[in-house]
């Protein structure tokens, strides 16, 4: 039996996802599926301008419109602003500039889509009709949208307190040592890169319902969040001043987040606040165009980087200077993305001994920018892998060999990088070899010749990457400016007849936790997976939680469950010892049974649970009844997944179309619980990486500040025919500091893939003399690059 569990539903088994039945049959319960008695519907009037003074708002006609319950503007809002969860200090020691971020604008609007007024009405249509009657007198000013220009003299200022739009001017690493490394370099490779702004596009748009119970004074917020406890903490403590005990936050089924649903958004605070004012529930669901305008965007870096090499191609030093767009306000985790989730990874998988990085975070009149799948690490990996590739081209070294030559050796772990992190484990040689083999790297020239005969340019590209996830040791992040701890909480409730409810502070919004965690607990407690239910997403059910992001759910949330299971097993041993009249030291837990060592006397978990809840024969003076344990797990270090991605493309030189024809991901993510879910995560991440490399890019009009890519008519999401069959390989080295050995997989696909794709495109275009291309490498851009190279060759 236990062996069956291990092979069919335990750790390492391809268990079909328990949650998929309800998702695939339309039986999920998303925030918009929830309706509260007496609820009103909210419509948010948003700024049509990127930058303007609000001279006057007249909402009198709207207030008198049919069905309208209330209209609120910035003048009505008396509570706090949305806080930033991370504080960065500039080079000179000064704290970052934190402008106020009220959920309704008071005197100015700072990006298209900024919240100007909230209308609550009996129906959504009435709320929207009434919003059209609100008269807002704007005095438009000139916006700044491009991060590359935001700190230039004469640029429009977003905040008076942020001179030259600088939020912070931060650095990391040893500048003197890096300068010295460059001084002795045989070769220096330089590159300028843009990591373009992306719009997350979760399938489910954001939604929020605020509810207020007049009888108890309790507030409830139903919201599309990746971390309901964090929202309760931020909104309760900082924004609305509601004590935790009076505030329940529920994040039910959530249809994708990719980071964009981590943050505390204005709408969450507004519906909760308004529900208290009108003493009726207030429901808001974003329209897709609102998602484009107001979900936190991702990336948006402009960088210059230089790599110093010795005559043999060994990396001596790395210098990086990056401007990072924050948008108009500071979103919850925005300040830490281009710093501690970016610059700290600049060693990559290489032994570069000296690294120095400067990051200037800048405000612009655009939507906020925050974590989006990978968050900082894709930007870092793209920079490194484009730079290394260019160095190989310039020095004439083989693209694979230059990487291999600079890899951190397998016996060098734990490895201290010059940019703060200590990698616990890894084997970059094995994932490289695996990827080369799986992708038939050696056979590429023949495929290239075949493509040429068909009029196509074929290219192959590689990226060897690392990332830091399993976020994060609280003490470490605290010292770096985090205003919260980043542990996780898990509870195991063994019911009287032996079934188990698992409460996790992690949150599943597509990841499959209900299956992965059930596998973990099923194997850990030796019970059937059908007897394990996973509960998450409700602050009134789960003791506490920091949520799901940064590929942390298994490494941190799963580890908390292991700790809780350890406690359950320890207590069960005591109960078993009593029932079996043996000493605790002689009880062994194995194959789902508590056995007296060397005998056939044993009790199952179910028998022990029954005894714990019906304690007639029970060590009642030594042990409490019941069988439920909670554990908090604070990781000792980040985890460091890594690997090699290989991409093969064909370019149509007449049209500029790039088709990804092969993609191989060989990753080291530590212990795998469910290989099928892991492969799905890699597939999705690679699809997003292909999206960034070839298709997606948010564009704001530089003069008006209007979002030009405000719908799917112009913002190009990857479709099935843009994504090839993806080969996924796995070579695990175990994480050394968590009980599972797992490292995390949620983000690796999106981190490793973009440079592999672009390096492949540049490899394909190399015969034409094309040396650079910016993401997304759309057909138009590829065609332009080909024309420019042709002109240059003439």
């Amino acid at each position: 039996m236990p062996n069956d569990i291990a092979t069919q539903t335990g750790i390492g088994a391809r268990v079909k996802r328990k949650e998929d039945f309800r998702f695939l049959t339309g039986r999920g319960t998303y925030t918009d599926d929830i309706n509260r008695p007496g609820q009103t519907y909210a419509y948010i009037l948003r700024s049509p301008h990127a930058a303007a003074d609000i001279v006057k708002i007249d909402a009198s006609k709207a207030k008198a419109a049919p069905g309208v319950v209330a209209v609120f503007t910035g003048a009505d809002y008396e509570k706090g602003g949305l806080p930033a969860g991370w504080q960065i200090h500039s080079k000179d020691g000064s704290p970052m500039i934190e402008p106020p971020h009220f959920p309704l604008c008071k005197d100015k609007v700072r990006h298209v889509g900024d919240q100007v007024a909230l209308v609550c009405a009996e129906t959504y249509a009435q709320a929207r009709d009434a919003a059209e009657l609100i008269e807002v007198d704007y005095k438009e000013t000139t916006p700044i949208v491009n991060v590359g220009d935001a700190d230039k003299a004469g640029a429009p200022q977003v905040w008076p307190e942020a001179k030259n739009n600088v939020c912070y001017d931060w650095h990391l690493g040893d500048k003197a040592a890096t300068d010295a490394a460059f001084a002795k370099a045989a070769h220096v490779t330089k590159i300028d890169l843009v990591n373009q702004r992306l719009i997350p596009n979760a399938m489910e748009p954001r939604a929020a319902i605020g509810d207020f119970d007049r009888a108890t004074g309790e507030f409830t917020l139903y919201t599309t969040s990746q971390n309901p406890h964090v929202i309760r903490l931020l909104m309760g403590a900082f924004v609305l001043q509601i004590p935790e005990a009076k505030l329940r936050v529920v994040a039910p089924d959530v249809g994708g987040g990719f980071g964009s649903k981590i943050f505390h958004y204005a709408e969450e605070a507004l519906v909760t606040w308004a529900a208290g004012k009108i003493e009726r529930p207030v429901k808001w669901t974003a329209e897709r165009s609102e998602s484009f305008l107001t979900d936190a965007h991702g990336r948006d870096h402009v960088s210059h980087a230089e790599l110093a090499l010795d005559k043999d191609g060994k990396f001596l030093g790395l210098r990086v200077s990056t401007k990072a767009n924050m948008g108009a306000y500071l979103s919850t985790f925005a300040p830490c993305i281009p710093t501690y989730l970016y610059a700290t990874l600049l060693a990559g998988v290489y032994t570069t001994p000296a690294i120095y990085c400067e990051v200037k975070a800048l405000f612009t009149h655009t939507a906020v920018v925050d974590a989006y799948r990978g968050a900082g690490r894709p930007e870092c990996t793209y920079l490194l892998e484009r730079l290394v590739e260019k160095a190989a081209r310039e020095t004439g070294m083989d693209r694979v060999e230059i990487r291999r030559k600079n890899f951190i050796p397998v016996n060098a772990f734990p490895y201290q990088t010059p940019v703060a992190l200590q990698y616990d484990s890894g084997d970059y040689f094995s994932t490289l070899d695996m990827a080369l083999k799986m992708s038939d790297w050696a056979g590429f020239e023949k495929r290239k010749a075949d493509a040429k005969a068909r009029g196509k340019l074929r290219g192959i590209g590689i990226s060897t990457y690392i990332e830091a996830c399993g976020i994060a040791p609280s003490a470490v992040v605290g010292s770096l400016g985090a205003r919260a701890g980043l542990y996780e909480c898990g509870s195991i409730r063994v019911h009287p007849t032996g079934s188990v409810t698992v409460f996790t502070g992690s949150h599943s919004h597509g990841q499959g936790h209900e299956t992965t965690f059930a596998q973990l607990v099923s194997e850990g407690l030796g019970i059937s997976i059908e007897n394990v239910e996973v509960s998450h997403g409700d602050t009134n059910k789960v003791p506490f939680g920091m949520g799901t992001y940064g590929s942390r759910s298994l490494a941190v949330g799963g580890s908390a469950l292991v700790k809780a299971m350890d406690k359950v097993i320890a207590k069960s041993k005591k109960i078993a010892a009593h029932l079996l009249e043996a000493s605790v030291a002689d009880i062994e837990f194995k194959d789902g049974k508590f056995t007296v060592v060397g005998t056939d006397k044993s009790k199952t978990l179910g028998e022990i649970a029954l005894a714990a809840y019906v304690p007639h024969n029970y060590p009642i003076t030594e042990l409490e009844p019941g069988l439920e344990e909670t554990a908090f797990y604070d990781p000792l270090n980040f985890t460091f997944p890594g690997g090699t991605h290989v991409c093969e493309v064909e370019v149509d030189p007449e049209t500029g179309v790039v088709q990804v024809v092969n993609f191989t991901a060989a990753d080291d993510i530590g212990r795998v619980i469910n290989p099928m879910i892991v492969e799905g995560q890699v597939h999705g991440g690679v699809a997003q990486g292909i999206g960034q490399a070839l298709l997606e890019g948010a564009a704001y009009d530089a003069e008006s500040g209007q979002l030009l890519t405000g719908s799917y008519m112009d913002y190009c999401m990857p479709r099935a025919d843009n994504v090839p069959n993806i080969q996924v390989g796995n070579h695990a080295t175990m994480c050394t500091h968590n009980p599972l050995g797992s490292k995390g997989v949620g983000e690796v696909g999106a981190i490793g893939s973009p440079p592999a794709v672009i390096n492949a495109v540049l490899d394909a275009l190399l015969p034409l003399g094309v040396k650079d291309i910016t993401m997304p490498a759309t057909p138009y851009k590829v065609w332009q690059a080909i024309q420019s190279a042709k002109k240059a060759a003439e």
Binding site: D129, L708, T709
Partner: protein, 264 residues
């Protein structure tokens, strides 16, 4: 969307009457452009007159040596029609490539032509084949029908009833899709017809147009290479995030070449 009065007449005459008595009436043929516009509150018609219940507007029939397609025939019906596939295979290919599956089962040929979106597919076939647009009032030659950006020769109270396509000697259609919307960035329909060689280009300009340069080149030598050798001017072509006029000009020749190759 805002409120409007909804009508579902069962004859063209009733539809015309309803349109005439509305202060700002809109015809609903398939709704694939109108409904998103209404939902975004970009249009506020007083009345919407749904043509979906008018039997005389539906259906595909062989007429003479050509094909006549009723105005409310869906793209999916055209794509699947054995008569269309046999008589003008390129037209079936074009219809089968419009939008996505849902759009093809809702969108109609009459709706597409009345809307005359600059990036729509059907205008290329209608102009390329020298089709005739039939309305409740008259017949309009394709060369006289397309007037500009979202502009046609249709007058007030005029409703498209059918489109007649003469059978060409051979024809081909190839489009280059705008990556995000997958509308035509450039679509080229080439046809060898009794009236001569015709090349119609959609997506590239503010309105579908004929390319005299490509017609001359393909007229004397109906091959991909002949089309590819034509270097078109970019003047007057569209410019947006997805392509400059120069890019579109280059794509017209490439798509014409591929359309000629597809025509066989």
């Amino acid at each position: 969307m805002h409120d409007f009065a909804y009508h579902r007449p069962s004859s063209v005459a009733d539809a015309v009457k309803a349109l005439g008595s509305a202060s700002d009436g809109k015809l609903l043929a398939g709704g694939q452009s109108l409904l998103p516009t209404l939902r975004q509150r970009l249009a506020e018609p007083s009345d919407v007159i749904d043509l979906g219940a008018i039997a005389e507007l539906k259906g595909i029939k062989v007429e003479g040596d050509g094909i006549t397609i009723g105005a409310t025939t869906t793209h999916a019906e055209v794509a699947a029609s054995a008569d269309v596939k046999k008589t003008i295979p390129a037209l079936a290919v074009l219809a089968g490539g419009i939008g996505d599956r849902q759009v093809r089962h809702r969108g109609t040929i009459g709706g597409s032509l009345a809307n005359n979106d600059p990036a729509a597919d059907y205008p290329a076939a209608v102009l390329g084949l020298g089709a005739t647009i039939r309305t409740n009032k008259r017949e309009i030659k394709a060369d006289d029908y397309f007037k500009g950006l979202f502009e046609t020769a249709l007058g007030d109270g005029e409703i498209i009833t059918a489109v007649h396509f003469p059978k060409p000697e051979k024809a081909g259609y190839m489009k280059f899709e705008q990556p995000a919307s997958r509308f035509c960035l450039v679509g080229v329909f080439v046809a060898k017809t009794k009236a001569g060689l015709r090349v119609a280009v959609t997506g590239a300009g503010p309105c579908v147009f004929r390319s005299k340069e490509l017609e001359a080149a393909l007229g004397s030598n109906f091959t991909a290479d002949a089309a590819k050798a034509v270097k078109l001017k970019a003047d007057g072509l569209n410019s947006d995030l997805h392509g400059s006029p120069e890019y579109r000009a280059a794509l017209i020749s490439v798509m014409a070449a591929r359309a000629a190759a597809a025509a066989g």
